[in-house]
């Protein structure tokens, strides 16, 4: 069984207006499907409001899908109760975007790192302390820091503590929600290198959520691009970056500023702003800003289908196969 996580047709909405008047829902995630294999890094990339963070929390069931299925290691976990989920959480840990808020400031570093051990194992305090020290060394912080409090550490160091914590119970999957976005540029690369080293060492799978396409390219095996709650394209890294099929992916990639002044690129500048997720456009959600919009796009939601092996896209341009499609 190669598949670690399978997400099938998952939808999730949030009620944002109760009481008098018609109820309004925010459609955060709209019928998405993807797979994460053991030991691989699958990234979800997209801009604000695209639903990638919500998806991360659906995978580890901090949220419950409205419809669709979530499978973990061959088990259907879609509707499991909190109590039933608890033992499974040993295998899927999370690293958060904000290294300041995700660690309880009243706890010592060693207690923070060992918390999953307290929850999931019966190790003695001494054994936990020893493991915590080992973990701190492994993430590049000396074990002498174990007795200190988090406020003494920088953002990058705190993120390492968060990673050590996630590692403590030897999970199979780590969901990393924008783990380096809040860090300085020169520290980002340190943490990214660390994540890669740990993956090689422990055979971890990552669900890597980010808006930064350069970071994502560096660390991923496969990538899913999200827009306004839908997955618009999924492919192996090289296929996506060499030949993005979906107009949004193309625009996204061309929008990234490259730190090289000699590179002059053809920019695809999208018109308009992101539509409101409370009132998404009809048909293909991207049609209001798409440079290749056709009549059918305004009315019919395109199917998410395999355009070429391993490369999925939801776009009417490819209804008749890749050759018939738009720009390469």
């Amino acid at each position: 069984m190669d598949k670690l996580v399978e997400v099938k047709g998952v939808k999730k909405s949030f009620l944002i207006q109760k009481g008098l008047g018609p109820k309004r829902y925010l459609q955060a995630v709209n019928d998405i499907s993807f797979t994460i294999r053991k030991g691989e890094t699958f990234s979800l990339v997209g801009e604000s409001g695209c639903g990638k963070s919500t998806t991360g929390r659906l995978v580890n069931r901090l949220l419950t899908p409205d419809s669709g299925e979530i499978w973990f290691e061959g088990k259907d976990i879609t509707k499991l109760s909190d109590r039933a989920m608890r033992p499974l959480r040993k295998h899927m840990q999370m690293v958060f975007q904000d290294p300041y808020a995700s660690l309880n400031p009243r706890m010592k570093v060693k207690d923070l790192v060992a918390e999953p051990l307290i929850i999931h194992t019966k190790l003695s305090a001494k054994e936990r302390d020893m493991l915590a020290s080992k973990l701190l060394e492994e993430v590049g912080l000396g074990s002498q820091h174990a007795e200190r409090y988090v406020h003494e550490f920088s953002g990058g160091q705190r993120q390492r503590i968060g990673i050590a914590r996630a590692l403590s119970v030897k999970p199979k999957l780590i969901i990393a929600d924008e783990p380096v976005s809040a860090l300085d540029v020169s520290i980002q690369s340190q943490v990214i290198n660390l994540l890669q080293d740990l993956q090689a060492e422990h055979g971890l799978a990552y669900l890597f959520i980010s808006h930064d396409l350069s970071v994502v390219e560096h660390i991923s095996d496969r990538i899913g691009v999200m827009y306004l709650g839908s997955l618009v394209e999924t492919a192996d890294k090289d296929k996506l970056y060499d030949r993005p099929l979906h107009p949004y992916s193309q625009a996204l990639l061309s929008a990234v500023p490259v730190p090289d002044p000699t590179v002059k690129r053809e920019r695809i500048i999208l018109s308009g702003d992101l539509p409101s997720p409370v009132n998404p456009p009809t048909g293909c959600r991207f049609h209001t800003r798409c440079p290749s919009c056709m009549e059918i796009c305004k009315q019919i939601v395109p199917e998410f289908r395999e355009a070429e092996p391993g490369h999925y896209v939801a776009c009417h341009l490819y209804d008749d196969g890749v050759q018939a499609g738009g720009k390469a």
Partner: protein, 339 residues
């Protein structure tokens, strides 16, 4: 008219923390020419935002004070200018846009009203003239349905729209210098592309200079003519954008450029700068970057270099090795601390 629009000489800004004074900006000197886009680059804590606030004399509500140096704008020294005259310059000859448009726009005033204010105050326009001009400005910054947006409140607009409104307010009086402090950092990447495009167009149309403050090297490469790199409150390197990226003459710049993942780069492992930015109250002796520097010599650890010229160019670098052809890796002299 001189070519130099802004000439910062030896700027020093200090902050009161507890009972001691901390130098957030230490002996910073640079200049901006007419019609030039200059990038001010650095990571958090390097002093770039404090520098921009110092230039605009906006430190009144903070524990910071300019304690030395000159800021010559055309021929006037902004540091010693009376507040009354400074107010005439702000929003009029020098304008500023910030990272978070939501906090710079007044949430209880309509957009139209906020736009009209600088026009009426600085240009002496009547209300109806200002209204017309405001709509015109919104169109200039690419906001469709300009007349409708004049009646909106800031919270009704998206982040990209709010940033456009702020830009409209900034260019309303056709300033000579626009200071943009991380203008696109809070925006999505596709919106960022729109805003950068807009800034380019406006700069050409209005003949402005721009001081673009950012930590994003990609934005710098795309937008700037010249770049100033700051670290620990000091300027560590200065030069044209091509020279800087092609052949950085300061190890920090070099490390920074190499640690940013670039699209289509295909490297196995990213380079990184070990260690952390030093605490402003506990700065090392000698070169402030030396503890993290792979090429640091004994001299670097003891003596702080001045901003030296790089031979054969107009570039400057605060590094004893600035003029050496090759740099020898001596191993970073950190205390083993990861960042």
């Amino acid at each position: 008219m001189t070519e130099r629009l802004l000439d910062v000489q030896g700027l020093v800004t200090e902050f009161k923390r507890g009972s001691s004074q901390i130098r957030a900006v230490s002996d910073v000197s640079f200049h901006i020419n007419r019609r030039e886009v200059v990038g001010l680059v650095g990571e958090s804590g390097c002093g770039k935002s404090v520098t921009s606030l110092s230039l605009m004399r906006l430190l009144k509500d903070t524990p910071g004070r300019i304690s030395g140096g000159k800021v010559l704008f055309e021929d006037r020294d902004l540091v010693t200018l009376p507040e009354k005259d400074m107010r005439n310059i702000r929003g009029n000859e020098i304008a500023m846009i910030f990272q978070e448009p939501m906090t710079s726009l007044n949430p209880v005033l309509k957009i139209g009203k906020q736009l009209e204010e600088p026009l009426m105050v600085h240009l002496g326009l009547s209300r109806s003239q200002a209204k017309e001009r405001a709509a015109d400005l919104l169109r200039q910054v690419g906001i469709p349905r300009a007349e409708e947006v004049l009646h909106d409140y800031p919270h009704q607009l998206s982040g990209g729209m709010r940033q456009r409104v702020m830009i409209a307010m900034a260019i309303a009086c056709k300033p000579k210098l626009l200071i943009a402090d991380e203008p696109t950092t809070a925006l999505d990447v596709t919106i960022q592309a729109q805003i950068l495009e807009l800034l380019r167009k406006l700069r050409a149309d209005n003949d402005m200079s721009v001081l673009l403050i950012t930590h994003d090297l990609g934005v710098v490469a795309e937008m700037c003519d010249r770049v100033i790199v700051m670290y620990a409150g000091r300027v560590v390197e200065e030069g044209s954008v091509q020279e800087l990226f092609e052949n950085p003459r300061h190890p920090y710049t070099k490390g920074l450029i190499r640690s940013v993942p670039k699209l289509r780069q295909k490297v196995h492992r990213l380079e990184s700068i070990p260690g952390n930015v030093p605490d402003l109250s506990q700065m090392p002796q000698g070169c402030k970057f030396a503890p993290r520097c792979a090429y640091a010599t004994e001299r670097c650890l003891k003596e702080e270099p001045g901003l030296l010229g790089v031979e054969g160019t107009s570039r400057k670098s605060r590094c004893w090795l600035a003029n050496e052809q090759t740099w020898e890796e001596r191993g970073a002299v950190t205390d083993g601390q990861a960042g």
